[in-house]
Amino acid sequence: MHRIIPVPKLKPGATRNQKCHPAKEKDMAKINLPPARLNDWKEVILKKMAEVLDKYRSVRLYLDICVKCGACADKCQFFLGTGDPKNMPVARADLLRRVYKKYFTLGGKVWGSLNEAEELSESLLADWYTYFYQCSECRRCAVFCPYGIDTAEITMAAREIMAAAGIATKYVTEVVAKVYDTGNNLGIWPAAWKDNCAFLEEDLREIEGVDIKFPVDQVGAEVLLVPPSADNFVNTNTMIGYAKMFHAAGISWTTSTYCNEGGNFGLFLNYYNLKKVNNRILEAARQLKVKKVYWGECGHAWRAGLAFTTTLSGSMDFLEIPYPVHICDLTWELIRKKAFKIDKTANDQFLVTYHDPCNVARAAGYFEPPREIIKATCNHFVEMPADTIREKTYCCGAGGGLLADEIMEIRLAGGKPRAEACRSTGANYLATICAICKANLPEVMKHHRVNCEVGGVHDLLGRALVLKG
């Protein structure tokens, strides 16, 4: 098997001290969690663990049937980048499995530490906090496991269990709290969102001479777009791409200041917040009386939106399209219908490659629409090596709530396989449809000295669209 980076020697404890900052009390209170670590944390954790084991077949089964074959071990970019053995998916799951065996299985009680049953001590809890927040829940390991053991399910369970005892990270909890306050992950108040949209409108009018609208809170629009909020403030070329696309297609659309965030950080914390964040999308659709909802270029949003919406947020039957659809579906459909005038030469300075974001690839199996859009808007497209794309795609290094500055080392190490894969193609533009990837990959490319710009797929469309003004 062609290895994009070599398998490292085991370096026990290499990243033991790379921890996320702990959560702030006011954020925990806003998201229905104990404000700080409880005094009886051990009892609370064991009680919550029993509850999780009874509620999630995946957790119980995957703790039971792992045969320690080690096939998953060298597939995790965090292990490949750091060499810390506890970043091997099997060893990461073992951190939870040890406690499971000790308190919940007959064998664990009989054989004890001989068969890796371990008491839940302070030092084991510290390891839980460290290593379950060094997993981006990208599920690459699950693709290579003979039974599909999903380490992300274990990580999610461990995070939910820790959260019940008041243990969580600052980054994840403050983002979820911001969603409840402002409607999005970046903490942008409605007035600021509207202002920025007006600013983009003005910009496009002055610089490109086209009158394109960025509607906000328009009741009765046909389409509600739920982008990642970063698209309006950081990856503005993507936002411009969306607006140009809707303008060229003549579709009335809007964003909502109640829900201008697809990226569901509740997914990284616990079921309660996963559900509460996801509910906002359909609620915004009902408030604005739209006919269709499209999810924007956001990876975690697409996993939660596509797979979980009808479970968490009720029926979508009040919409014309009663199931989740991605903006790339609409764009590609319109491209096929030749609704746009496209000038591919506008992107000729780019040799484009496409990075499958982990959730989009492995949870949604969503490969073709973004690639087709790229091929329709660019002349030069190249794919990265086969075992680094599609369902085997490498995480960007910062998914699952890992985009925090204090663990930058982990992020850069985790992004290394993707950087090397990109380098091997010679591409100078890496297109992707996930805001976290767009945030981490530029740092990763810079650190590993790969000369490649990172941007969205609708960015390329925005450049290539010929608008009549």
Binding site: W111, G148, N279, Y323, R362, A363
Partner: protein, 267 residues
């Protein structure tokens, strides 16, 4: 040794624990719900696709082939050889012996010659490689050593030590039909039988349940039919948060609806 009840007792005990344990483990797994769709690409759209995927999983180990070719060779050949050997053993349970079991005799015999090889390879992997040493626990070594001992004693029984298999078959048929008979047991046969019983008793309490568990693995048996709804049996409502709603008159209206208890988040 001369015995009438030792082997029946051991057989009923080990089979009882094996079946009871299997049923218990499956019952615990089956009563635990799957709240969310956690499919893993490539996920099929139909039930037939799921059957095809699981069949591929148990007969070909495709993920292992992609993950670690050497491990695939060791693991797959071990399972195949074990299957052939077990099929050959079915001759002891039928009288008269069906044609397809008779056909298994020669392949099963040759499989038996080679069965210790992948087992030794898997054991070596856990003793020599850095990763194997880090990950392996008592249960891993025990399972491999037990299987190795069973295959070696079986090999010795069929090749070097004379055992009158007509007597063995009569004894086993006696167990099946609850009519135990007197049996002169060679020590090596007793050892082989004891080891197999130990394996059957150990099976439901160990990682060997992976064989049954794979059928329940949600990442492999769920369909990616996202256009259909999916229900979580223990779903619960969460409180509605009306902060920063727009426009101001809508905010007051929704607050009023919440206070009157009319508005729920899942409506």
């Amino acid at each position: 040794m001369e015995t009438k009840f030792f082997f029946p007792f051991l057989a009923y005990l080990s089979c009882g624990v094996f079946l009871g344990g299997l049923i218990y483990r499956f019952w615990v797994w089956l009563k635990t719900p799957v709240p969310l769709r956690i499919v893993l690409t490539p996920a099929p759209q139909t039930r037939a696709g799921v059957v095809k995927r699981l069949a591929g999983d148990i007969f070909l180990f495709p993920q292992l082939l992609q993950a670690d070719r050497l491990l695939w060779v060791l693991g797959w050949s071990f399972h195949l050889l074990l299957l052939l050997v077990m099929l050959r053993h079915l001759r002891y349970f039928f009288y008269p012996v069906p044609v397809w079991i008779e056909a298994m005799q020669t392949p099963g015999l040759y499989a038996g010659y080679f069965l210790p090889v992948p087992l030794a390879g898997l054991l070596a992997r856990r003793l020599i490689t850095e990763r194997g040493l880090y990950l392996s626990i008592w249960g891993d070594y025990f399972a491999l050593l037990l299987l190795l001992a069973i295959s070696l004693t079986g090999l010795l029984l069929s090749q070097y030590f004379y055992v009158y298999i007509v007597d063995v078959k009569a004894m086993i048929l006696g167990i099946i039909f609850f009519q135990p008979i007197n049996f002169q047991a060679p020590w090596l046969f007793t050892l082989h039988f004891l080891l197999v019983s130990a394996l059957l008793i150990y099976f439901p309490f160990s990682k060997l349940m992976h064989g049954g568990g794979i059928f329940l693995s949600p990442t492999h048996n769920q369909r990616a039919n996202f256009k259909q709804p999916y229900r979580n049996p223990w779903d619960f409502p969460v409180a509605y948060n009306p902060l920063n709603l727009f426009p101001p008159e809508k905010y007051q209206q929704v607050l009023g609806e919440m206070k009157a208890g009319e508005k729920k988040c899942t409506e």
